[in-house]
Amino acid sequence: MTGGVLGAMRAVFVRELLVFWRRSTEVMTALVFFLIVTTLFPLAIGPERRELMLVAPGVLWVAALLATTLSLNHLFASDYQDGSLEQMLMSPYPLSAMVLAKIAAHWVLTGLPLALLSPLLAVQMALPTKAIGTLVGSLLLGTPTLTLIGAVPAALTLGVRGGGVLVSLLVLPLYTPVLIFGAEAVAASAGQGFASVAHLSLLGAFLALALSFAPWASSAALRVSLD
């Protein structure tokens, strides 16, 4: 029976990867957005290294956060339109398990590439080399939390006109704690090189918390949206 749930989750995961892979433009949008937004800052502020270094953690984190928000609309929308989501409600397994598999696949295709791309952009933002590890680490811990939290409003606004903007409005306030500790972790290790562990631990705690409630909350939201 347990093997059955895992098998179904794996199938959902594979399905998502296949679909997103064939619609690679959607995956690329978030990534290119991240790239462009961070590139705008050196252009606007000027190439002065000290000034860039000062804003780098904040800029990189805000850009990552906005890119994630942008990609949230793809999480359920197409499955909602073609009726796949309706079918998923008829699964013999808990809906939250299916949702978790969907979120995991979504993160692998948006959050993970974003974290892997970040060192390149960190160099562009004149972030000290010693802080790059912390940047990647904080994004690896933070972006799954962002996707998990974002899944709830994404599910709730399905079928609502102008749902895309509504998702951003609902989700950005919820993102602030992750943003604060993520950017602070990077800033700490860029400056004195201490105390970033505490921030990273908190990011880890956020992730654990989001993992425990987000799949359940978004599956409840899906049931409401599809009623």
């Binding site: 399905r15 296949l18 073609d82 309706e86």
Partner: protein, 214 residues
């Protein structure tokens, strides 16, 4: 309590603030087909969605094998196959991938029915096996959605306008699939305006339970 496998009693459903029907009761036993009839806008789709657990009725109770559906939760959905207005076909996957993944997502262990190729054969889509499903025609997509019924061995089929977009041969094919299903002890709830004839078929006029006239 009656002995039928699937019963609904005192069911009321609303859309917005308008009550669609009230006090509706029906029962369905193994080997039976119930054809829900009625003019557009009466609430046939709402009834079907309530019966298969996609939406919650305002009032009333639905029982499966004598137990409340709300208590059974996933043990009930594991027994229902629903084909609604939307086909639930992911356009970027091929016909075979759609079915193969549906099989792993929706079939409990030991409950899988026909194989993917066999199901595609039965609905006449073998040649479209490896084509992206978004390139299929409306009718072919419908047939692919119906093929899902075959790969999942679920006793209760809930079909909302299954004949939409199907050509004459496919309509006959679907009728015989439903016939085989009920002959093998299955149950089928069908919303359709199409007259089709099967042994064990009963009509159900939804209009009898609608108080408000449009």
């Amino acid at each position: 309590m009656s002995g039928a496998l699937f019963t609904a009693h005192g069911l009321s459903c609303a859309r917005g603030d308008r009550t669609l029907f009230a006090g509706l009761s029906l029962e369905l036993d193994a080997g039976e087909v119930l054809q829900v009839r009625g003019p557009n806008g009466l609430g046939k789709t709402t009834l079907l969605r309530a019966l298969c657990g996609l939406s919650r009725p305002m009032r009333g109770e639905i029982r499966w094998r004598g137990e409340k559906v709300s208590d059974l939760a996933e043990d009930f959905t594991a027994e229902v196959a629903y084909v609604g207005h939307l086909n639930g076909i992911q356009g970027d996957l091929t016909a075979a991938e759609n079915l193969r993944l549906a099989r792993s997502i929706f079939a409990r262990r030991g409950h899988a029915g026909a194989g993917v190729d066999e199901a595609l054969d039965r609905v006449g889509l073998r040649a479209q096996r490896d084509r992206p499903s978004r390139h299929l025609s409306q009718g072919q997509k419908r047939r692919l959605a119906l093929a899902r019924l075959l790969i999942l061995r679920r006793p209760l089929w809930v079909l909302d306008e299954p004949f939409t977009g199907l050509d004459v041969a496919s309509v006959a094919n679907l009728s015989s699939l439903i016939g085989e299903h009920v002959a093998g002890g299955g149950l089928a709830l069908v919303v359709s305006h199409q007259a089709f004839d099967l042994p064990g078929i009963r009509g159900f006029e939804l209009a009898r339970y609608c108080r408000t006239r449009r």
